[in-house]
């Protein structure tokens, strides 16, 4: 492996020497011997199993819930509904002041997506919990649903989430996150070519090999230990504390071992209801998603739509870029308002463009709530941007790599959201890539530098 340390040589003087070395992972010996303890490897005497009754409708009012038959089912210990949850309406990012609280732990009066949790059944065995869940009767009045972001933004669309009052997240900047830099309209008027394209993606499921879940034990002193595969330990602890109206000192979270996450285990979904169930029954409780729930119920990566309009000159300079981005949050916020905001900062890409105009919307629809997944908010944007870059290069008959050299950001350039570029190293990466891929570019590009010492 070739290591290039020269670019950051003046920044890092501490003689880093780990990169390029083979180092054993500390957790591997446990993995290969089957000794690593995942949350579900904990088993406690008298442990109850929790199964959810879920909404079969995308959008419906709940007229009534009848749990009487389920409660009589052999092996059933307790049935929980919205009224049992101390603080039933929550939102994960409230911890960093991103509200309003917009999601229910157990549905109260309404369901907003197909699969939403309505009633929790606790029984001695998984099978009894499953059978009893099938006996819960929920009377629904089906409401019109909306699945398409642009439809959802039209006047008269069904209102998905009353806690927002409209089908988009209201930022302090208004109906979308906005970036305004220079004058795009004037530059479009002077550009040699204009290219407007739209790019769209579907939701993507993380599909970890280990499904989402937790095991909770009451410790007998009004404290609870929660073994969980969350990727967001303290977020989960603090949100559980809010939902259960219980000081965090009463909650002991044990985790750190995750059987595949990829961002799919950062929502706070299974822990609060399982802790509540352990508290109300005084028994250990296990709540594990079935494979079907993992695929259908857990948050996917958001569907996105990205519309990009670029003005480009024959010499290869992009002079203006206008982007409208849409992030499909599904029925609830979870991490999507943050994902859409990240997109707003990211859409110019690693390029210096003098005139930029960006709007990104976080839209509510009656689809499965989306959330984090590997670089959410930027990954789909990068796909769109780099396809657009190739199309622009083709449009002006330029080599796609040379086209990127011309537009690459360099140290000191002001980005559209007004952060100066530091430690870019993009030029140097592309030079290394050009050599490695045997994709030669003109000598002047090989002489360039992110420090702007070159061409």
């Amino acid at each position: 492996m070739e290591l290039r340390k020269d670019y950051f040589a003046d920044v890092r003087k501490d003689g880093l020497h780990e990169i390029g070395q083979g180092r054993p992972r500390l957790d591997s010996p446990g993995h290969v011997t089957g000794k690593t303890a995942y949350f579900a490897d904990r088993n406690f005497p008298g442990m109850l199993h929790l199964k959810m009754v879920r909404s079969p409708h995308h959008h419906a009012r709940i007229r009534s819930i009848d749990t009487s038959e389920a409660e009589k089912h052999p092996g059933v210990v307790r049935v929980l509904t919205a009224k049992d949850v101390p603080h039933n309406v929550y939102t994960i990012l409230i911890l960093i002041q991103i509200g309003p609280e917009d999601e229910t732990v157990l549905a109260d009066g309404k369901v907003r997506w197909k699969g939403e949790a309505v009633v929790a059944v606790l029984a001695e065995t998984e099978r009894a919990a499953q059978e009893a869940a099938a006996k819960v009767k929920v009377d629904y009045e089906v409401l019109p649903a909306v699945f398409d972001m642009e439809e959802a933004l039209k006047p008269g669309a069904p209102l998905v989430n009353e806690y927002h009052g409209q089908n988009y997240y209201l930022y302090d900047s208004g109906e979308c996150r906005k970036v305004r830099f220079g004058d795009v309209d004037a530059s479009f008027a002077q550009a040699d070519h204009i290219l407007e394209q739209s790019y769209q993606s579907s939701p993507i499921e993380h599909a970890p090999t280990e499904t989402t879940g937790c095991v909770v034990t009451p410790e007998g002193n009004d404290r609870f230990t929660c073994y969980t595969n969350t990727q967001a330990m303290f977020f989960t602890l603090d949100n559980a504390s809010i939902i259960l109206q219980m000081p965090g000192s009463k909650l002991h979270f044990v985790g750190g071992t995750v059987g595949g996450g990829f961002g799919g285990k950062v929502d706070v979904i299974v822990e609060p209801i399982a802790i509540l169930a352990a508290k109300l029954t005084g028994r250990p409780v296990c709540f594990i998603y079935s494979r079907e729930e993992e695929m259908q119920i857990s948050s996917p990566r958001a569907a996105e739509k990205v519309v990009i309009k670029d003005g480009v000159m024959k010499d290869g300079r992009i002079v203006a870029r206008k982007v409208t981005g849409y992030t499909d949050a599904g029925a609830y916020s979870r991490h999507s308002p943050y994902g859409a905001q990240k997109g707003a900062a990211h859409y110019p890409g690693p390029y210096t463009i003098p005139n930029v105009w960006i709007d990104t919307y976080c839209v509510y629809t009656n689809r499965t709530p989306s959330s984090a997944m590997r670089g959410f908010g930027v990954t789909i944007g990068d796909f769109a941007l780099e396809v657009q870059m190739d199309k622009l290069a083709r449009l002006i008959g330029m080599d796609p790599l040379e086209f990127r050299f011309i537009n690459a950001y360099r140290d000191g350039d002001m980005k559209a959201h007004r952060q100066p570029t530091e430690g870019a190293a993009l030029i140097e990466c592309m030079q290394a890539a050009s050599r490695a891929a045997n994709w030669p570019v003109a000598e002047k590009y090989m002489a360039m530098s992110s420090y702007r010492k070159g061409v």
Binding site: P24, D27, V32
Partner: protein, 160 residues
């Protein structure tokens, strides 16, 4: 529900349990006997995380009823290391970085062991075929394939 007695050997030691009729071997091993090395990734025969070896054959313990295992010789990844010394497959998985989250690893190792027991010098295609019932969402499979091939090489060097 009526319980049925079942007796088998697990990694060489005798086990006897009463299980409810219909209990899967995965459930019996993990929750009754306490060997949690087989993992439940799907409970429907699609992921391979629960793979164990029964009388020399690779089996999905989530689709095997415990009550059908009377008298069987059952092997799991937990029993593979002898006297604290890792099996060549375990060593190779460590060295080749073939495990990330580790959830698929015990099942992968079982599938690889059955392959190497029968085909000591497998081709790459043999390895891919043998692991085709096991899903890994982390590694992209290549390090696992390399680990199995490396373990086969280590075995044949030891034998020579």
């Amino acid at each position: 529900m009526a319980k049925v007695p079942v007796q088998f050997t697990l990694n060489g030691s005798e086990k006897a349990e009463f299980v409810e009729s219909g209990t899967t071997l995965l459930h019996a091993l993990r929750d009754k006997i306490g060997d949690t090395s087989p993992k439940g990734g799907c409970h429907q025969g699609t992921c391979g995380a629960c793979s164990v070896i029964i009388d020399g054959e690779l089996r999905l313990s989530c689709l095997t009823l415990a009550e059908t295992c009377g008298g069987a010789d059952i092997r799991t990844t937990a029993g593979l290391a002898e006297g604290g010394v890792l099996h060549p497959l375990q060593r190779a998985f460590l060295d080749a970085f073939a495990t990330q989250c580790g959830f698929c690893t015990p099942g992968m190792i079982m599938a690889a062991k059955v392959l190497l027991d029968r085909t000591p010098n497998p081709s790459r295609e043999d390895v891919v075929e043998a692991l085709s019932g096991n899903i890994c969402r982390c590694t992209g499979y290549e390090p696992i394939i390399q680990a199995v091939l490396a373990a086969a090489r280590a075995n044949s060097q030891n034998a020579a």
